[in-house]
């Protein structure tokens, strides 16, 4: 979120309120899960880190939210670096993988049960994402983000199948269907 806000400020200096609106618009149906306070908290952090500065707006001094934020040089550099950077997969696969290994080694939990619990959670999220995908008109950009989320969850589910096969001790691809 820090990077997204910095990138929006690269276009022009803005009020926190406007930034919130723009973020929500970019996120489409997912924007609803963002709370307004997050933008201000993030801006305060960015300011502390020397990436943005603010000044008071002169247009309408009567309103409380009159800080206009702008990027510093360091902020500009960070935006450029962020845009150039390749997104790495999130490390939660690594963590879950290590969790299964640890559960098995310590015998504190059954890895297959951990896989089952994880699957339930993924399916719950996928059901929500899928429902939202279908509620969007075809070809909308908001729908595109949801579709990406659904495809990732689907990939995670397929990986869990592989986890289950290995941790349940035997390959069960007998093909008797």
């Amino acid at each position: 979120m820090q990077d997204a806000i910095l990138a929006m400020l690269a276009k022009e200096p803005s009020h926190g309120y406007d930034l919130g609106l723009r973020l929500r618009r970019a996120l489409g149906p997912l924007g609803g899960s963002m709370n307004a306070g997050q933008v201000y908290v993030t801006l305060a952090r960015l300011e502390k880190a020397g990436l943005v500065v603010h000044e008071r707006s002169e247009e309408s001094p009567a309103r409380p939210d009159r800080k206009v934020y702008a990027l510093t040089d360091a902020g500009h550099e960070r935006v450029a670096a962020w845009l150039a950077e390749v997104n790495r997969p999130k490390p939660d696969l690594v963590e879950f993988h290590l969790k299964l290994a640890a559960a098995s080694a310590s015998r504190l939990a059954d890895p297959v049960e951990l896989v089952d619990a994880q699957r339930r959670e993924l399916l719950r999220r996928l059901a929500e994402a899928q429902r939202a995908v279908l509620a969007e008109p075809e070809g909308s950009t908001g729908g595109l983000l949801l579709e990406g989320i659904a495809l990732r969850l689907q990939a995670d589910l397929r990986w869990l199948e592989a986890c289950e096969r290995v941790w349940s001790g035997a390959g069960k691809e007998s093909g008797n269907e």
């Binding site: 089952d116 999220r125 989320i149």
Partner: protein, 241 residues
């Protein structure tokens, strides 16, 4: 009312050391209007289960009831009639007749069930319109995209107003956009109260259902209710830094 009821249903192949329990004593009630998905790895018995429920295969044990009528012991002619009139099938590889147009493919089951050519035409026009393919009615299947072909197949499955639509990996041959086309259509059908049973290993298809059964080695290992929630993607997207 339950459209489908299954009691202690079993399908076994082979003997002794080679005995395969494809379906190993399952119970299931599918209420009218439910969209049920059965999910599991290949070889878990889910396709066999679907075939048993649609009268395509006979069980080696247990019972299948379709709208209160027992079908596992029904005679061949009764079973054939039931497959034509009461059950609509959708397959992974569409199974359209390649020599017939989209409209003719949909008309066929009406004609086979004894409907007049006029009634068949009217029904096909209505159904192709419903699946959004009225403008493709005169096309042969090879001129249609995968998603369109599967939508024609769904229209055909609905031709005789079946009690239940049984779909076996309906998106197995489709890319993600076409998968959405078909899932959108299923969602519409569910909205109209059509009972649907899908077997799949595609998480997206499974997640579109009201209810999800997980199957392993011929038995149900989990039965989860997915439908009816209103929660917005609270857990989906962590907005933290």
């Amino acid at each position: 009312m339950n459209v489908l009821q299954v009691r202690d249903l079993a399908k076994r192949h082979g003997r002794k050391d080679n005995l395969v329990r494809a379906v190993d004593g399952v119970d299931l009630d599918v209420p009218a209007g439910q969209m049920l998905a059965v999910m599991g790895p290949s070889g878990c018995g889910k396709s066999t289960l679907l075939h048993l429920m649609g009268g395509l295969e006979r069980p080696t044990g247990g019972q299948v009831w379709l709208a209160g009528e027992r079908i596992d012991t029904a005679g061949e002619r009764a079973l054939a009639r039931l497959r034509r009139r009461s059950v609509g099938f959708v397959f992974q590889s569409f199974h359209l007749v390649e020599e017939l147009t989209a409209a003719e493919n949909v008309e066929l089951p009406v004609l086979l069930a004894g409907g007049s050519p006029r009634a068949a035409k009217r029904r096909a026009r209505h159904l192709l319109d419903q699946v959004g393919l009225a403008h493709r009615a005169r096309h042969l299947p090879w001129k249609l995209s995968g998603g369109e072909r599967q939508r024609v197949a769904v229209a055909r499955a609905l031709a005789n107003e079946p009690l239940v639509v049984l779909a076996d990996e309906p998106t197995g041959n489709l890319d993600t956009a076409a998968t959405n086309e078909v899932l959108r259509l299923f969602a519409d059908l569910r909205g109209m109260g059509q009972t649907l049973v899908l077997v799949t290993h595609d998480g997206r298809v499974a997640a579109s259902a009201d209810r999800l059964i997980s199957m392993r080695d011929g038995v149900f290992v989990e039965d989860t209710w997915l439908g009816g929630r209103t929660g917005q993607f609270d857990g989906l997207f962590a907005m933290g830094d």
